[in-house]
Amino acid sequence: MSAQASARDSIEPLALLWALVAVVLVLSALPLARLVLEAVAPGGAWSMQALRSVLANPTTWTATQHSLVTALGGTALATVIGVVVAVAVSLTDIRARNAFVFCFVAPLLLAPQVVALAWLSLFGPSSTLLKMAGLAPPLGQRNPLYSAGGIMLLLGVQYAPLVFLTLRAGLRSMPQEMIEAALAGGARPLRVLRTIVLPLMTPPLLAGVALCFVSCLGNFGIPAVLGIPGNYLVLPTLIYQRLAGLGPSALSEVAVLSILIGVIALAGIVAQDALLRRRDFRTVSSTATARAFELGRWRVPVEVVLWTLAALVLVSPLLALVLTSLVPAVGVALTAASATLDNYRFVLFEHAAARRAFANSFGLSLAAALAIVLIAVPLAYFLVWRRTRALRVVALFTEIPYAIPGVVLAIAAILVFLKPLPLVGISLYNTIWIILFCYLGRFLILGLRPVASGYHQLDRTLEEAAQIAGARLLRRLRTVIAPLVAPAAAAGALLIFLTAFNELTVSALLWSTGSETLGVVFFSFQQGGDSQYAAALGVLTIAVSFALMLSTLSFARRLPRGVLPWRD
């Protein structure tokens, strides 16, 4: 009997492990392998020509250098903002925390190119806001955001919520007793922060920073809007240019450049893993909810600073978007006479694709978020608690689909899925499923990182107790492990949902009639010069997302504690 049970207990993990390996390989490694093949053997014949010509081109190295500079700068800024906000929100007694978290996370909902355009119009001569205030700069003045600094600023603002969300999930399990003990022992709050909180928070912080770095590296929208006019080329924009170039060699060169991005992303990840492995970060989870730091007379100033930040990162771009959506055509000054809801009417009622896009993007993002969490929870269990070595290499593959530009991932997916699948004879191509496949591969890392950092912080004793009591792995996963990592998993799911909801670059190549996404429709409007329609769609997207976020509050009580970042 007991021998049978133990045999089953060793088969079950093994089966699960191999199933996970298979899933990750299909989602991440298969498209990448096909891409590498295209780089070294275009059309089936071995050729190193693309490799040589790309690596010998000085433009490649300029763009690489620019990519590194902007990604590091953007990550640094995002980290500073994310850490300050997470600590203030989680450990101090500021008021209206939930509303603030809401506003701070929301910019993730805005597609990067929307944010970039909103900021441009905010500071540009046509700024409706500045015009109304009579402060608009003269026509033709060069916008200061068209620069490396502008790219870093917007990347930092865009991705600060990544650092914030992963760190906040970590701070939820921060043992308050340790902080209280230190404070009681006479340590100043900043010292407690430096010597206790931040060291203990290393796993989620590094997870956030790593995600942020890879996001900045792969971002196309912001350098496309700010870098192209400033003639500041980064790798994703260079890849886009190569794609537009004529001739059959374009694809192999694009593949080589993408591999270059993948290598940089992996270097960052390996460095992060090395940092994490040196120490032990596990604590026994805590139930205390008291705010550790009472700000006292500093409370109001801190609140003012935080809300100014929120206003800057969300309200002002949003306001710019709202104002643009209310004018009949680009460049018309907004007055009581010129204001119109026509753009909303067009987007909602005349443009069938826009309505479909809402449904599609919602379904795709939700499906991706749920499926990825289901993969990430057991996967990270093996990675972090069981320290399965082979899996660590496999897990590295999950970074690359997120780091390379979406358009390249889409090309890889076309190469893999154009022909009907062997055995079943169905083709995913030209259906919504190929978009979902790409989302799963691309956003897997957004779920895996926060969940893995959750495991890093948790002690295994509870699970071991359950094991001794005879609970097998699947049961332990369901009843013991999942509730423990739920906050981290929810942070991951939220990141995935918000990111996928506005995603453009993957679906731009893979959509078909009936499977349009919001990003595709938005991009189409913008490209045709109809920015006012694009603005109306952007405003609606945010309104819908806000409504969704608010609706989660209605069933929040039934979720494990700490799952929703905007609820205490």
Partner: protein, 331 residues
């Protein structure tokens, strides 16, 4: 009397039935896959009008920027199974490249009489469907009004010009190829523009937004986008420069691998037909068939001066041109 007329009616009915039977036998049906870089609204209108003429054909359209369309197509070629039957893309240079790779199917029976001859490939593999010229867009609040391309290089325009990057836009690549071949402009012209802090943005959509917004006072822009924005009330004007306008023809072509060549041919015929051409004019384009009339913005009684383009040369020099442009405008 009665019976004779009844017999006549019967005969007529038979003839009609026979005609419609013949008509049905020849009428293309099934699914047609179209890849196009037309703006969203225009693509939708074109497809709707085509379906009205050929109700039995289902049209599956993929519309995106030139970069995305070409990227998708390149991947499909590499995987050995291109999907589209017809392409409707911005410029002839792209079509010429596809033709050289042996991707296009000749359609010698296409009804091209009355169509501007220079827009048609002599081998009948692609057919220009309209004329999209590039000129100078001006924000109505701008201080100066340039009259020529050369004006834009003058010091008073410094820092105020946006143009579509030829690295992203097919029409802009043709403009670059056309202008750099001219002795009065040439590469020195682009070097001067760069010295005057002109910026190259991603496509014409970005230019019209920048100029209408007043972010830039002047823009190098395609005609229809400027006039369509103006018609909606944007503070923008369009100037035909003295040296002439470079132009693209937005050709339509059938792929050799087309699954539904009958429907593809019908699509080409429709685009070149009076109805298709009238539709183009109604959407604000200069049609390739002059007899259907001009778009409403067209300066009545005048003829737009075009800059002649040697497509073969543009294709040959394209990659070198783009590289040189990137070097001038890159850091």
């Amino acid at each position: 009397m009665v019976s004779r007329s009844r017999r006549g009616m019967l005969l007529l009915a038979c003839v009609l039935a026979g005609m419609s039977a013949v008509g049905f036998a020849q009428a293309p049906s099934g699914k047609l896959v179209l890849y196009t870089s037309q703006p969203e609204r225009d693509a939708a209108q074109t497809v709707a009008a085509f379906r009205k003429a050929y109700p039995n054909v289902e049209v599956d359209v993929f519309r995106s920027g030139t970069t995305e369309v070409m990227g998708k197509l390149a991947a499909e070629f590499a995987a050995g199974q291109p999907r589209p039957d017809v392409l409707l893309l911005a410029d002839a240079a792209t079509m010429e490249t596809l033709k050289k790779e042996g991707r296009l199917m000749p359609y010698p029976q296409a009804k091209v009489d009355g169509i501007e001859p220079s827009a048609i490939d002599p081998d009948r593999t692609y057919f220009g469907s309209k004329l999209i010229t590039t000129g100078i867009a001006v924000n109505t609040a701008a201080k100066n009004r340039p009259t020529s391309w050369a004006d834009l290089a003058k010091p008073e325009y410094k820092g105020q010009i946006a143009m579509p990057s030829p690295l992203y836009s097919g029409a802009a690549a043709i403009m670059l190829g056309t202008m750099t071949e001219r002795p009065d402009l040439g590469w020195t012209y682009f070097e001067k523009l760069k010295a005057g802090d002109a910026v190259a943005v991603r496509g014409n959509g970005a230019v019209v937004t920048a100029v209408a917004n007043g972010e830039k006072a002047y823009g190098v822009l395609v005609d229809f986008m400027a006039f369509n924005a103006k018609a909606k009330g944007s503070p923008i004007d369009f100037i035909f420069p003295a040296e002439g306008n470079p132009a693209v023809t937005e050709p339509v072509a059938i792929l050799k691998t087309a699954q539904n060549p009958a429907a593809a041919k019908a699509f080409v015929d429709f685009i070149l037909s009076d109805d298709g051409q009238k539709l183009a004019a109604a959407m604000g384009y200069i049609p390739a068939r002059a007899s259907v009339g001009m778009p409403s913005w067209y300066p009545a009684g005048t003829k737009i001066k075009l800059m002649p383009t040697d497509i073969a040369n543009v294709v040959k020099d394209n990659n070198a041109n783009l590289k040189r442009f990137a070097q001038i405008f890159g850091n």
